[in-house]
């Protein structure tokens, strides 16, 4: 059976294996259409891609199914400034799930270094099959070569794909976003009926890097594929893939029993949606925590801009990822009477994106939900008519609307938290400037503020301690919010924060180290680095390292004193072979880095003041611990 005619974009519409379900499209009156058009921008404007390009991408995405074994097809339409890379699809179960239940794996951070959380330092999770197959495509080298050519031509790179091909398009876009130079026009991505690809951290990282707007996902209201990853690998999965697979004997045949596959996917989608809704709504019932031990939830979550097609020519745009998840579940909910028909539609709608979009984009009947999520009307007859009409068209119950409100509410809460932290900035700066004064005063004493603080002799030392604690309070609150995802995703990528965090870390962490060793906590608990280092410094260090694209541990200059303290506490002289060797190595390395750090200006000169612990200790080092040229450079620093 021929489904997609190869090589001819004009006739790429699939010949449907099913009779067309009853005609459910109703066109609204011209006048109403006119009014609504005035109310909203066109989709093209909003996402800065012309309707022509979107339509072209849709037809290319469908066409790519018959690419003749090539992983993608490249289309450079005349008169348009884009080059469209459309990825082919696959219906083989192995290409969807490597292992039950959900086939996920940790993201390959050497290829995708940004796909992790920064402070929390968790790696994103991605579908293992998608990742494996995408890397195989990369290995063929043609993709990179073609993209380079297009970029050299000054064309906008646009990746697209339908179904499984959409997952490849997403990974390709991310790959080139990661590689992109500062002057390069970053690639775009439009998907049609894409399965979910990554987890919550995956989406968080994309939003943090401000890449979210590069991704546009079109989803038909009932399309089963965008929901399929919410469901564990199962026999129903296989049935669905077989239905779409032209090479399968079950291709296009009614799935029997005809409702079971749909209920299975919806049941899983419901679990994920209700679980996340509990979090969005701030559920305080402790049972929720314990349930997580018993309920296996899919890790996959939506990200990017979702555009839901109502099926009667309207488009609903939503960027909020929590709202998008709730929509994925609630818009596909069944009502008893329509159940059988909807199950069929969930398959059929996966194949009609190009037609549907041509019509919807022509009508431009668009509603943007993000701005008004928190105020969505709860009943079917309140609120702005245009919003309510689409909510009704999407079949959203009051419960669904409450969930969407909660999704909007959480995002607003995050913004409020951020504003609250921004209000503290002045306070942070004041305390830092007090401590800066303290540091400078320490230099005039030929002792350095580290040692002064450690001795806690003067009123100034005590005042510095109070400043330290005030700052700790402010930053610890920030860290706790980050740990609980109570701040906007972009928070850790704000230059101002990274700068302030770095200033804070370099100036104040030595005081925490001094406090730690002053109270001899190392004797009871262990070293500062292993047991005592507060999260607020770990996080601030990770922020800077991430911004500079440096590996974890690169920016440890603020821990200089902890290393010195630990090295001081190993007695020199006693002939304890291996310990001495590692110590020697460590000391030599520390000397090297000290010079680098001081030259960089990220470590203050106060460490090389005559009276400082470091200098006193360094002077006692036997000559075999020092090597040239570092040794004379340090000597110069001390006397310079």
């Amino acid at each position: 059976m021929v489904v997609w005619l190869p090589g001819n974009p004009q006739t790429s519409h699939c010949s449907l294996p099913l009779p067309h379900p009853r005609n459910y499209k109703t066109s609204s009156s011209t006048r109403e259409k006119e009014r609504e058009r005035k109310m909203g921008e066109t989709v093209g404007n909003r996402i800065s891609l012309s309707e022509e390009i979107i339509n072209r991408a849709a037809s290319q995405a469908m066409r790519a199914h018959n690419s003749g074994g090539r992983p993608f097809i490249l289309d450079k339409p005349r008169g348009l400034s884009v080059a469209i890379f459309a990825f082919a699809g696959s219906w083989l179960p192995d290409d969807w799930f490597t292992h039950p239940p959900f086939g996920e794996t940790k993201m390959d951070t050497s290829t995708f270094p940004s796909l992790r959380s920064v402070g929390n330092d968790e790696v994103a999770v991605v579908n293992a099959s998608f990742l494996r197959r995408f890397k195989a495509i990369l290995d063929q080298l043609s993709l990179e070569k073609e993209v380079r050519k297009v970029v050299a031509d000054n064309k906008q790179v646009l990746f697209t794909g339908h179904s499984w091909g959409a997952a490849m398009a997403i990974l390709a876009t991310l790959y080139f976003l990661e590689k992109g130079g500062p002057n390069q026009n970053p690639p775009r991505c439009i998907t049609f009926g894409s399965p979910l690809v990554g987890d919550r951290i995956f989406g968080h990282a994309v939003r943090r890097e401000k890449w979210s707007d590069r991704f546009i996902h079109f989803v038909m209201r009932f399309d089963i594929i965008p929901r399929i990853m919410l469901c564990p690998a199962s026999i129903e999965h296989q049935q669905i893939l077989n239905y779409f697979n032209p090479r399968s004997e079950f291709y296009g045949k009614l799935i029997d029993p005809h409702l079971a596959f749909y209920l299975k996917v919806m049941r899983s989608a419901a679990s994920v949606a209700t679980h996340d809704a509990c979090n969005l709504m701030g559920c305080t019932n402790p049972l929720l925590e314990n349930l997580r031990n018993f309920v296996d939830l899919s890790p996959y979550r939506p990200f990017g801009t979702f555009i839901f097609c109502t099926g009667n020519g309207k488009l609903v745009v939503v960027k909020n990822p929590d709202a998008a998840l709730q929509m994925l579940f609630y818009t596909a909910q069944l009502s008893q009477e329509e159940a059988a028909e909807i199950a069929q539609r969930s398959l059929y709608e996966h194949l009609v994106y190009d037609n549907e979009l041509q019509e919807s984009l022509g009508m431009q009947n668009v509603v943007y939900l993000d701005d008004s999520l928190e105020e969505l009307p709860l009943s079917s007859d309140s609120g702005p008519a245009i919003v309510n009409t689409v909510l009704n068209d999407l079949g959203l119950s009051t419960e669904a609307r409450l969930c969407l409100r909660a999704a909007g509410g959480l995002e607003n809460r995050r913004l409020r938290n951020q504003a609250k932290i921004d209000d503290n900035k002045q306070k942070i700066k004041e305390e830092l400037s007090k401590l800066r004064g303290y540091q400078e005063k320490g230099e005039t004493l030929e002792l350095g503020y580290y040692d002064a603080f450690k001795s806690q002799e003067e009123k100034a030392d005590f005042d510095a301690n109070v400043s330290r604690l005030v700052l700790a309070g402010i930053w610890d609150e920030v860290i706790e919010m980050l740990r609980r995802s109570e701040l906007p995703d972009e928070f850790e990528n704000r230059e101002e924060l990274i700068e302030l965090g770095t200033l804070y870390r370099r100036l104040v962490e030595p005081l925490d180290i001094a406090n730690y060793y002053r109270n001899l906590k190392n004797e009871d608990t262990g070293t500062y680095m292993t047991r005592g280092r507060p999260k607020r410094y770990r996080y601030a260090q990770r922020w800077l390292e991430h911004a500079e694209k440096k590996p974890s541990g690169w920016r440890s200059e603020s821990c200089f004193w902890a290393e010195v303290e630990e090295l001081c506490s190993i007695k020199t002289g006693c002939n304890n072979g291996p310990l001495q060797d590692t110590k020697k190595q460590k000391i030599q390395q520390l000397q090297k880095r000290l010079i680098e750090w001081i030259q960089d200006g990220c470590l203050g000169k106060d460490v090389v003041l005559e009276g400082s612990t470091f200098v006193k200790w360094w002077k006692t080092l036997p000559s075999e611990y020092r090597s040239e040229p570092e040794s004379s450079m340090i000597a110069n620093l001390i006397h310079g």
Binding site: L287, N290, D381, G395, R416, I474
Partner: protein, 564 residues
């Protein structure tokens, strides 16, 4: 700043529960066992399944008779020492429903073996039962929780179906609350059986019934839907209504059928409101949830605004705000440390400084003291509200900080107490409960010191705080004893007891010195301790010239100059 929007997640949580396989799995084994157990009117039998290596299910089946007519005269509560561990320290006793307790006790030896076996297992443990079987399941789970420690890899959940209320305890302040899920149909009269307004004939005469308290989460169900609640008062109200609306005829609810229906409901499209009534998400949500389970909020006089206030107060206490508070507390401690340091610079102990002078910085010190005291009284109270074992693990995290606080701040309370000159017997008359508990917990947790500990203590004794936070109270009492010895109006008996006290005090101080448990600041010139030594030395010199003790020798030789 506008208030954060609030939502009620009772319906969402219920749907999450219903959608998961958890309850189905729990219910699946109950009906068949019940059929097999017809012989005794009220018997319960634990059955242990391991359907997958990762999951164990324990089912407490009760016979059909026991299910239908569970408890003739069974509403009585009896005190049980077996479940004493449930009581927080602040509340002395625990009472359990007699019928459930009798059944549980009759199975005790069997259950003990089962418990030991289960604790060793890893993974999910589902403990379930229907009606009275559920009550026994819950009692068994409580025992199991009490025997588990942190290392245990067994993750239990107890799911009961249509079980009656169990006892007078609640677990609102305990993590244990998260382990209990009670599934209750609004058609089932059994869960509300022991409630005062219940029309059920068999229990109408019980006077004790009103003290029953629900615990855990209730999954309340009707044919229209379900909702999860964990507020005991609300649950009581709902159970009362439900049981009074059920017809007098006791009927058996088919929970299997009910669950199948709810499972469908959870993914079918829900209703749309015909119009908004309250204008805020919380009220719209919770009224809808309550209506779903057949509760008319207007008729029942349920205070929606009150519920909203309560929900809002629960969201206020976040980890982030706690992190901030903890640093405020550290700041207050740093200020007191500084106060202590300043005193030392003036060659005084901070105790004496606080006792004898009255300057602005004492006012400051007092403010910090108060801030710290409020914080620690709260922490101690929270630990006290939890079941005993849990309270213990809760406090281990901060016991060290609490001990530092006690050693730092209690001397100041003592100074305050003796300052006016009228204070007598601080330890028995004035000492705050939270200090006593902090000290008791510290002693329970402390390991006996080793030789090395003592050596390292010797090195840093100068920066340590005096270990016995009541040290200064003992000193003050010793001074009073000295005064009583030299006071002409004292009776012989008074003098004798004073002398005895002083002898004991001498031994006590010497022991503290040998253990490096006192700060060297006590030997500073003019300290209250040195003042005592002056008076004591004079007394011995004048009246008991022959007397000596190790402390007297130590002091006379001036060995204390080498201390610390």
């Amino acid at each position: 700043m506008s208030q954060a929007p609030l939502f009620s997640s009772a319906g969402e949580l219920a749907n999450l529960v219903v959608n998961s396989n958890l309850i189905d799995v729990a219910w699946a084994n109950i009906p068949e066992i019940q059929i097999g157990q017809a012989a005794f009117p009220c018997s319960v039998e634990p059955m242990d399944y391991s359907p997958t290596p990762n999951r164990t299910i324990v089912v407490f089946a009760s016979s059909p008779n026991g299910t239908q007519y569970p408890l003739p005269e069974g509403g009585h509560l009896v005190q049980s020492s077996l479940f004493q561990f449930l009581s927080p320290n602040e509340c002395p006793s625990v009472s359990i429903n007699r019928a459930a307790l009798d059944l549980f006790t009759s199975l005790e030896s069997q259950l003990h073996g089962l418990k030991t076996k289960l604790i060793e297992r890893e993974g999910q443990l589902i403990i379930t039962g229907h009606s009275l079987g559920g009550s026994v399941a819950a009692l068994f789970t409580l025992c199991l929780l009490d025997s588990m420690d942190k290392k245990s890899k067994c993750r239990p959940i107890c799911i009961t179906f249509g079980s009656p209320l169990l006892g007078d305890f609640d677990l609102q302040h305990s993590q244990w609350n998260s382990f209990f899920l009670h599934v209750v149909s609004n058609k089932d009269p059994v869960p509300g059986l022991f409630l005062p307004s219940s029309r059920s004939p068999s229990t109408s005469s019980h006077s004790q019934t009103s003290v029953y308290k629900p615990f855990g989460t209730y999954l309340l169900c009707s044919e229209h839907g379900c909702a999860c609640f964990d507020d005991p008062d609300l649950i009581l109200k709902i159970l009362t209504v439900a049981s009074s609306e059920v017809s007098g005829e006791l009927q058996v609810v088919d929970y299997g059928e009910m669950l199948r229906n709810l499972k469908n409901k959870a993914i079918w499209k829900g209703p749309q409101l015909a119009g908004e009534r309250y204008g805020n998400s919380f009220s719209e949500g919770i009224v809808m949830e309550l209506e779903t389970i057949g509760i008319d909020t207007a008729k029942l006089n349920i205070d929606i605004n009150g519920m909203e206030r309560e929900a809002r107060s629960l969201t206020k206490k976040t980890k982030a705000s706690e992190a901030k508070k903890l640093n405020d507390i550290k700041k207050a401690m740093a200020n007191l440390e500084w106060y202590k340091k300043k005193a030392e610079d003036e060659k005084k102990s901070y105790y004496d400084c606080f006792r004898n002078e009255d300057k602005k910085r004492h006012v400051d010190a007092k403010n910090f003291m108060e801030e710290l005291t409020i914080y620690w009284e709260d922490m101690v109270a929270e630990a006290e509200r939890k079941p005993q074992k849990e309270g213990k693990s809760f406090r281990t995290g901060w016991l060290f900080a609490g001990t530092t606080y006690r050693r730092m701040v209690e001397p100041l309370d003592i100074a305050d107490f003796y300052q006016g000159g009228d204070g007598r017997d601080y330890i028995n008359s004035k000492r705050s409960q939270h200090y006593k508990l902090l000290e008791q917990w510290y002693k329970e947790a402390a390991k006996p010191p080793t030789r090395e500990d003592l050596d390292s203590k010797k090195k840093k004794v100068s920066i340590l705080l005096t270990e016995d936070s009541c040290f200064w109270a003992h000193v003050e009492e010793a001074i009073l004893s000295c005064q009583s010895l030299t006071n002409a109006t004292s009776t012989t008996k008074q003098r004798e007891s004073s002398w005895e006290n002083l002898v004991m005090f001498g031994e006590y101080v010497m022991e503290q010195i040998e253990n490096c448990a006192v700060s060297p600041e006590i030997f500073l010139n003019g300290s209250t301790f040195m003042k005592w030594w002056g008076e004591y030395k004079a007394y011995i010199h004048n009246f008991r010239n022959f007397y000596s003790s190790r402390l007297v020798e130590y002091m006379k030789r001036g060995s204390y100059n080498q201390y610390g």
